[in-house]
Point group: C2
Chain length 202, copies 2
């Protein structure tokens, strides 16, 4: 590999550190940047260097933001008693693409994962309970991922919210079932069982 | 998408410009950079910014290099009468991984592609002919890709090298056939026909 000039090899090495990008993809990306006259290398470099610049967290929902409180938390047209609890900022982006949701968010900043050394105290769970405690009625939608850790986190939060001081709180979880366009034939057993369990009158 | 802070959206946009990286992958890469403490953003940014810095082309083989002539062309242990003609620098990397090859290279800088406005005059073909003309005997391995443009380019160069002043030159082309580990059942007709045509006594 020492056949390539150092500046090229450097960028290939950097790209290789990214998830899902192997050595061949890293080469391809680097050569694309090198050869494509439409790419502004300086703009790219600046975007990387400034990634963490000016980044603040909303003190209400703990989403990454440019202002505090963030745009969503400052929006009076939203229902601030409907709180969707998600793992991270990308989940907020995904949820907010569906126009039916008019509530606000609470970003946990991860999931409970003992293997990675992440306990409930590392997430914004205490802050969620405090936030909910101040409301006189609320619905909390637990929208962590349907993974092992996501389920465990949702279960942990639900248990906390079932304490007597949260009597005013309704706890819900996103529905499980077949995704749009799925093929029954290829659905896994677990999904199918959840779809059957959650069936509705037609 | 305006939900994300500007610095994050900026980098997502930059990543999205790269080939094979869609909006979702760009988000994932950006958040990986943001959250992974092992990634040095400044090192990445510097690698991008300096990509084209100190980059020179070898005046013999036209490969990208840090010295002129490049390491390969300056290597006396190599057979300078065995010239492997390739499309670009990554092909040199690929070819030089096989230890059986001890010749040198000639990097065309692309392929003849009328649709993209690339003619023979835009490639280092004249330079190849000049280089070969100075040798008293030589083998030219045409190692352009087995694509439509690669074949056309190889054919064009072969035709040039068949002129009387290149009588001392042997022209070869990389073998076509089934790749290692291939499945006969899934091989395309063209590959199979080439494999049959090039069959050898066992």
């Amino acid at each position: 590999m020492s056949l390539l000039p150092k500046s090229i090899q450097n960028l290939i090495n950097e790209f290789s550190k990214l998830p899902g990008i192997g050595p061949k993809s890293a080469q391809r990306l680097t050569f694309y940047l090198l050869k494509n006259p439409n790419i502004d290398l300086q703009a790219f470099a600046t975007a990387v260097a400034n990634l963490q610049k000016d980044l603040i967290y909303c003190s209400i929902c703990f989403n990454m933001a440019q202002t505090n409180p963030c745009k969503i938390c400052a929006d009076n047209k939203r229902d601030h008693k409907l709180i969707c609890v998600v793992e991270d900022a990308l989940d907020v982006v995904a949820m907010d693409q569906i126009s039916d949701f008019n509530g606000v968010y609470h970003v946990l900043g991860g999931v409970i994962s003992p293997l990675d050394g992440v306990g409930p105290e590392n997430l914004k769970i205490a802050e969620l309970l405090q936030r909910v405690g101040k409301l006189n009625s609320a619905e909390i939608i637990l929208a962590t991922n349907p993974s092992l850790e996501g389920e465990a986190t949702a279960m942990y939060i639900a248990r906390q919210l079932k304490q007597p001081q949260f009597k005013h709180v309704k706890i819900t979880r996103l529905a499980r079932g077949l995704p749009q366009g799925a093929d029954l034939e290829y659905a896994d057993e677990f999904t199918l069982s959840k779809a059957l369990e959650g069936r509705r009158e037609y």
